[in-house]
């Protein structure tokens, strides 16, 4: 299993790389679109600012290249945190900056009397079956915990893309899946056994 780990200069990639390797993948870090070879899976990791991330994605030629890979070649895309948020049209974090727009919807900031960022371990509830979540017993009485750290979350226009939700003052979509795209707000690479099971089940498919 060859995984292309997209490096857009935003954050440390080592923890994601390590988690993917532990899940049985051979990982190549790719920092420019032209180096994106024949990977079986593309992983776009996260942490950082929506606007800065999109600027780097564009500057490195990834916008067109990723679109081609995912929509023409049907290469699976796994997005984590910012790699999840950039799939949408836009974000309150960076008004005026267009996201990839592959999924309809906006990324909005948590509101109300909450500690922000939403930081720590929260329960993930499956909204429909999926092997990577089923492997965790997500639909049992004790849902698994994943590690989150974010101040913004996407509001998908199409509810059918929502794979799982999480409750932090509001119940928000923390995982989406449509066609070859699967993206999550939480950090499987920082989520101990739950994260390992999630990633290894995903990559085994």
């Amino acid at each position: 299993m060859q995984v292309a780990l997209i490096d857009y200069g935003a954050s440390n990639l080592r923890s994601v790389e390590k988690a993917l390797e532990a899940a049985g993948a051979q990982v190549t870090k790719v920092d420019r679109a032209e180096k994106l070879g024949g990977a079986d899976v593309i992983v776009v990791p996260g942490q950082g600012h929506f606007g800065h991330s999109m600027a780097q994605i564009r500057a490195r030629g990834f916008e067109e290249a990723l679109k081609r890979k995912v929509f023409e070649e049907k290469i699976p895309y796994i997005g984590i945190c910012i790699g999840f948020q950039i799939l949408f049209d836009e974000s309150e974090e960076a008004p005026g900056v267009a996201g990839l727009g592959w999924l309809k919807g906006r990324v909005v900031r948590f509101r109300g009397n909450l500690k922000i960022p939403h930081m720590g371990w929260n329960e993930v509830r499956a909204e429909r079956p999926h092997p990577a979540l089923d492997a965790l017993g997500v639909r049992g009485s004790e849902p698994p915990f994943f590690y989150f750290v974010h101040s913004y979350y996407p509001e998908p226009v199409d509810p059918s893309v929502v794979l799982a939700t999480c409750d932090y003052g509001v119940r928000f979509a923390c995982a989406v899946q449509t066609g070859p795209i699967l993206a999550v707000q939480f950090h499987p690479e920082k989520s101990q056994q739950a994260g390992k099971t999630f990633l290894s089940t995903l990559l085994a498919r």
């Binding site: 909450l114 500690k115 920082k190």
Partner: protein, 271 residues
């Protein structure tokens, strides 16, 4: 619902864990990687490392141990102690730390908080505050007995820096608010009065700070029993940090999680 976090804290000097971790299954209690792996396996929600190396080559030594901590952990970890510049912070984050914690350097130059938040995002920036209760002198008692009679002044704490050695005159609650305003993602709040006493957190301080800032507050200083952890959370902490109760094997992380859960506190029980 978001779980309350249980965070063991390890002091690191010259690349070795100080005081060690007395786990039965640990190979080398002083090794950062082994200690980190033991806490990871035990189900710690995060780990905090505090570098207390006081030598000129601290930066070079840190490169090695932070990397080993990163390899050993599958939960987030924070590195604090002596970080003075954005470049040093970047180095630590690139070595695999998830967050950096700043204390003295932030007090000396508060812009550092904003710069760090701007560079890495607020979620990476922990401001550690060492707070000590302010004492009030009672004049009439002073004349009667001829000695200063100091009692704690209610609701006032002073920020100390340089590992607690230097008083700053800064109000701890106001400093927490300013830190949050400048972009800190979290406050690591240590009561100097309680640190090492095993008498429990300073709950008044915790309550005051966590009700005044809209970012998570980590309670620190004074834990001696599992009930203390519960009290800290009830006073408003999003996470509870402890060192000696874990290192000396008084309680394990699973003990603590089970206790908190039984007492109605939402925690993650590791699979």
């Amino acid at each position: 619902m978001l779980a309350k976090r249980v965070i063991p804290c390890l002091d690191v000097r010259s690349g070795r864990v100080v005081k060690g971790v007395k786990f039965v299954d640990i190979r080398d209690a002083g090794d950062v990687g082994d200690s980190a792996a033991a806490y990871d396996a035990a189900g710690a929600d995060e780990v905090v490392f505090l570098d207390i190396t006081a030598s000129a080559d601290a930066r070079a030594i840190r490169q090695d141990w932070v990397k080993r901590a990163a390899e050993a952990l599958s939960v987030p970890f924070t590195v604090g102690g002596g970080l003075k510049s954005i470049e040093e912070m970047r180095e630590v984050l690139l070595l695999g730390a998830d967050k950096i914690s700043i204390n003295t350097s932030a007090v000396q130059r508060p812009e550092l908080i904003s710069e760090a938040a701007e560079s890495f995002g607020s979620q990476c920036v922990v401001v550690a505050i060492d707070a000590k209760k302010k004492m009030a002198t009672h004049r009439h008692e002073q004349t009667r007995t001829g000695v200063h009679n100091e009692t704690p002044e209610s609701g006032r704490w002073e920020v100390h820096v340089h590992g607690g050695r230097t008083a700053t005159g800064i109000d701890a609650v106001e400093w927490a608010e300013e830190s949050a305003r400048r972009g800190a993602g979290e406050i690591l709040l240590t009561s100097m009065d309680r640190d090492g006493t095993k008498e429990g957190y300073d709950l008044e301080l915790l309550h005051e700070v966590s009700s005044r800032v809209n970012i998570p507050v980590i309670a620190s200083g004074g834990v001696g029993t599992m009930a203390h952890l519960k009290e800290g959370i009830e006073a408003g902490a999003s996470a509870v940090l402890a060192a000696s109760i874990f290192h000396y094997g008084q309680f394990t992380i699973p003990d603590v999680k089970a206790y908190l859960k039984k007492n109605g506190i939402h925690v993650r029980i590791a699979q």
